[in-house]
């Protein structure tokens, strides 16, 4: 399974239109600075980044499904693999890896060793461990998974900018949404 998704991720990334990441990295940095200016409270900035990520995720999932042709995942373990090997690769050009599964297989850690968002970024000390600079990624994962019937909660547990070795996101599956008939239909 691992090899299959690695290959798929690479294949899809090779097919998509690519640009150099600098514009993205710089623009993201400018946006985070703007958010800090607008909100001042760092916790609010984290929340806002996550919300923005959510809005991105609900669109991004369609492109993901259309370009990757991925079918339904058998279980949450497979979903995690797909996110790390295909999702991250296809958009950010890097693969993440999965670790620290809990016993129920409803929680995992996504480890991003090479995060394009943080290229050349250094946080001042008073933001370390407070500002989750790449929190937008948590929102993207949450938004994307919600559109495919999974309600998850994503939080940053480690951030490379706060002197940790890598960036690490904890993803917890809260609920699998069933294909309920919408209100108004009988």
């Amino acid at each position: 399974m691992n090899k299959k998704y690695d290959k798929l991720g690479t294949d899809v990334f090779n097919k998509v239109e690519k640009i150099s990441s600098e514009l993205f990295t710089l623009t993201y940095g400018a946006l985070v600075t703007q958010l800090i200016k607008d909100y001042e409270d760092i916790e609010q900035v984290n929340i806002k980044l996550e919300q923005m990520g959510y809005n991105i995720g609900i669109r991004l999932i369609e492109e993901f499904l259309a370009k990757s042709g991925i079918g339904r995942c058998q279980d949450f373990i497979e979903t995690a693999e797909v996110i790390a090997k295909v999702g991250f690769k296809m958009f950010l050009g890097v693969t993440a890896h999965i670790s620290d599964w809990d016993s129920d297989k409803k929680e995992f850690h996504l480890i991003i060793e090479d995060n394009p968002l943080i290229d050349f970024v250094e946080l001042p000390d008073h933001y370390k461990h407070k500002l989750y600079y790449s929190n937008i990624l948590c929102g993207v994962i949450r938004g994307a998974l919600e559109m495919v019937q999974m309600k998850v909660k994503c939080t940053f547990v480690k951030c490379a900018l706060s002197d940790e070795s890598t960036s690490e996101i904890k993803v917890v599956l809260e609920e699998v949404l069933s294909d309920l008939i919408p209100v108004g239909y009988d």
Binding site: E62, E63, L65, M147, V148, D179, I181, Y185
Partner: protein, 138 residues
């Protein structure tokens, strides 16, 4: 011969509808759409229970055929439903529906900055390719 196309979003809202060559006029389009959505929902539920082997209702249901029309169905994992009604002899159009999703819907609706989820689609960059796409099949 193509009769009409429906696109439903996750919440059951018919975000796009277009018709060609229909001889019978529908009395209440919104009601018809709701009925269609509800019927398909029940049909998919039925398919799961009645299937001799495990089946995924999202991708397992392909089409049904009557004496006057054939209904082709394609649903994405993100619950966007593409439905097209054609004459009974048209071969399977699921691949075409898939193409509409990936090359028109994703490109000109999802990636359209002004698109609001849960609204109907009237963007000309989406509407314009749909018509000729099927005109050749009418």
């Amino acid at each position: 011969m193509i009769y009409n196309i429906y696109i439903f979003n996750k919440d059951g809202l018919c975000v796009y509808y277009e018709e060609w060559n229909k001889r019978k006029q529908s009395v209440n389009l919104a009601e018809d759409q709701k009925l269609l959505f509800g019927m398909l929902y029940s049909l998919k539920a039925f398919i799961s229970t009645s299937s001799p082997k495990p089946i995924d209702p999202k991708t397992g249901f392909h089409c049904f055929k009557t004496s006057t029309y054939k209904l082709h169905y394609y649903e994405t994992l993100s619950c966007i439903k593409f439905i097209i009604l054609t004459d009974p002899n048209t071969p399977d159009l699921r691949e075409d529906l898939k193409k509409i999703y990936s090359s028109i819907f994703v490109e000109y609706v999802v990636k359209n900055p002004i698109y609001q989820l849960k609204s109907t689609i009237k963007f000309y960059a989406f509407v314009n390719p749909i018509k000729p796409n099927f005109k050749q099949k009418t």
